[in-house]
């Protein structure tokens, strides 16, 4: 009896703790969203009333629009590069018999492990020499580098689920390696590739540290703009932009979760041999 009671108490404590952590983590974001709709002329909580004035100001100010455009121009190509390179690396690591594959894998993963500030300083040093500092190309390459490990990680996990006999079968049926990849392997890992791409987009859009080091007045992504704004005069515009960023990240991650579900399902269904969803004629 006491065992059961103490177990229940323990579970209650755990739930309370988790709830506390969630509130602690989420509440600043909620507050930012609320403040972004404030009618007050300065940052204050709770807001005295609601209005859309800060969004109006945001979309009226070329500084912010330019910054958002810059962020997008960095995000799209860098996500594309990270997805392509990351997928290729994952496929190679999973299938090819490359000598030193383990070493290559850990090198690819390095940006995930190394402190961002170190990566940023290192990139600044190198990009200065290559004359990439302060350019759009420099930021694109930097963000791609940061995002590649996430893509590799996601796609590698999917590759491990794909039976390599499938490719062998495609080969014996007359497919070249290239066609076997595009017709058989790629469709099976596609949800993971898309997840990886969404992660890469979020990483690029939210990235601040490396961007501070590499940006210039001409090429200034939205996060850097926010950073410099926060240090100057603060008004709820920053909350509005923050809310927009949050909305973007949350929807991207939600989409990623949905894709992930789809990725897992067909394999799970096959593993236990049960007939699942869909369409017997």
């Amino acid at each position: 009896m006491t065992g059961l009671n103490s177990e229940r108490l323990w579970r209650l404590l755990c739930s309370a703790l988790c709830l506390g952590i969630i509130v602690f983590l989420i509440s600043p974001m909620v507050i930012v969203v609320i403040v972004s709709f404030s009618s007050a002329p300065f940052l204050t909580f709770p807001p005295p009333g609601l209005s859309l004035q800060w969004y109006r100001k945001l979309f009226g100010a070329s500084v912010w629009l330019d910054a958002i455009a810059t962020s997008a121009m960095i995000m799209l190509p860098s996500a594309l590069i990270a997805t392509t390179a990351g997928t290729a690396a994952a496929v190679g690591l999973a299938r090819g018999r490359i000598p030193g594959a383990g070493l290559i894998a850990s090198l690819i993963m390095a940006p995930m492990v190394a402190p961002v500030i170190i990566t940023a300083a290192a990139m600044l040093g190198v990009f200065r020499v290559w004359r990439l500092q302060g350019t759009l190309l420099g930021l694109v390459l930097a963000h791609a580098t940061l995002a590649i490990p996430y893509v590799v990680f996601t796609v590698l996990a999917a590759m491990r689920l794909v039976d390599d006999h499938l490719e062998s079968a495609a080969l014996t049926l007359g497919a070249t390696r290239w066609r076997a990849f595009w017709r058989v392997t790629f469709p099976l890992i596609l949800p993971a590739v898309l997840s990886g791409m969404l992660l890469a987009m979020v990483i690029s859009f939210d990235e601040l540290v490396v961007s501070i080091f590499l940006s210039s007045p001409a090429v200034r992504p939205v996060t850097v703009q926010m950073w410099s704004d926060v240090r100057g005069d603060v008004d709820p515009t920053i909350a509005a932009i923050g809310a927009l960023l949050l909305a973007f990240s949350v929807s991207a991650l939600l989409l990623e979760t949905v894709l992930n579900r789809q990725r897992v399902r067909p394999f799970a269904a096959q593993a236990d041999g049960t007939v699942t969803q869909g369409a017997a004629p």
Partner: protein, 363 residues
């Protein structure tokens, strides 16, 4: 093609220090059904993969229709293969799976759908085009795999043993199905299995593998009547083995000195006088008598019965001989020959030297 459809010349495959396949040679005739039989890890699947082009021989040569296919990638070999786990593409319907090899050959749409429908009918799955593999039973999946491997009309079909996941009845049904396809299509088949019954039922010839070597290849009858090694004698059917030293040799017949006295047997291979050898007799070739019958044409071993197993058609006797060996004797349980013995009886097990084979005492 007089040289056979497929020829392997001293093909070896090593992985690091491990020799997976050790100097294997054989020829496959057009339209032949050859089973590769052996325990798991004996090199039969690796051999199959080398023929398909999925693995490359470390040394040796493989000829298809007289031409070396070493440099040919798998997709240019036109060899069908059914994989152990079927390897059906999970994201494609049955129809798309079966159409895959035809699409790779750039066939026209109407031609493809005509052929897919025909082959699905042949494997008894008509109208299954729109199902997904995961919606099929194990047996149905295997038939789809089979259909996909033969729809492009390869000259040679390789079948890796289907996983034991199929129950016995389904396995037997599949065996017959493959056998019928073989007869109907005239395709040559190499079938890998570790199940001797399966190999016996289906094959024109069987190649027995052990530890990376092709120990013996021949018809079922040859393997049963003239095994070359102990491994073959024990792997293909049941056999009694008595160890001894060769004492006399004459015209392929040898007399071995054993713990149970001198015993005679025949061999296709030569043995030196004094060398160690085994004499092997099949359980059904032994007869039992209560007392020694003087007969120059039969050798006998004295022993007593320690177990009787009634198996319906047959009765099996386990006999412990005077020399300490265990023999298994299988006799008809009913009919003219049916004499029955009970545990503890002292008996003479007799056999004709023609029914005994002298073997090397190695694997």
């Amino acid at each position: 093609m007089t040289g056979g459809l497929l020829q392997l010349n001293s093909v070896s495959k090593t992985f690091g220090d491990v020799v997976a396949v050790d100097r294997i040679s054989f020829t496959l005739a057009e339209g032949e059904f050859l089973s590769l039989l052996g325990p798991s890890g004996s090199g039969k699947t690796t051999t199959l993969q080398m023929i398909a082009g999925l693995a490359h021989p470390t040394s040796g040569e493989i000829l298809l229709a007289g031409r070396p296919i070493g440099p040919l990638p798998p997709y240019k070999r036109d060899i069908g293969m059914v994989f152990q786990n079927y390897a059906l593409f999970p994201h494609m319907t049955v129809g798309r799976n079966v159409a895959f090899p035809l699409e790779m050959r750039d066939m026209s749409r109407p031609e493809i759908s005509r052929r897919v429908a025909a082959i699905l009918k042949l494997v008894d799955l008509p109208g299954f085009e729109d199902r997904y593999p995961r919606q099929l039973s194990g047996g149905q999946q295997q038939r789809v795999a089979l259909a996909r491997a033969i729809v492009f009309e390869p000259k040679l079909l390789l079948v890796d043993e289907p996983l034991g996941a199929l129950d016995k009845r389904l396995r037997e049904q599949m065996q017959l199905e493959i056998k019928h396809l073989h007869q109907r299509l005239g395709v040559s088949i190499i079938y890998v299995t570790h199940d001797q019954d399966e190999a016996l039922v289906m094959s024109d010839r069987i190649g027995v593998f052990n530890q990376g070597r092709l120990v013996q290849i021949g018809t079922v009858e040859q393997l049963y009547e003239q095994p070359m090694t102990r491994f073959v004698a024990e792997f293909v059917g049941e056999s009694n083995m008595v160890r001894g030293a060769v004492r006399e040799a004459a015209n392929g017949c040898y007399t071995l000195e054993t713990d149970d006295g001198p015993l005679r047997g025949c061999a296709k291979q030569a043995f030196k006088i004094g060398s160690a050898a085994l004499i092997s007799v099949r359980p059904e070739r032994l007869r039992l008598e209560l007392a020694a019958v003087p007969d120059r044409d039969r050798d006998c071993i004295r022993g007593h019965i320690c177990e009787v197993i009634y198996m319906g058609r047959l009765r099996k006797y386990v006999i412990e001989t005077a020399g300490g060996h265990k023999l298994i004797v299988a006799r008809q349980a009913s009919g003219v020959e049916a004499k029955s013995f009970t545990v503890g009886d002292t008996v003479m097990a007799t056999f004709a030297p023609d029914d005994a084979v002298v073997l090397q005492d190695t694997h």
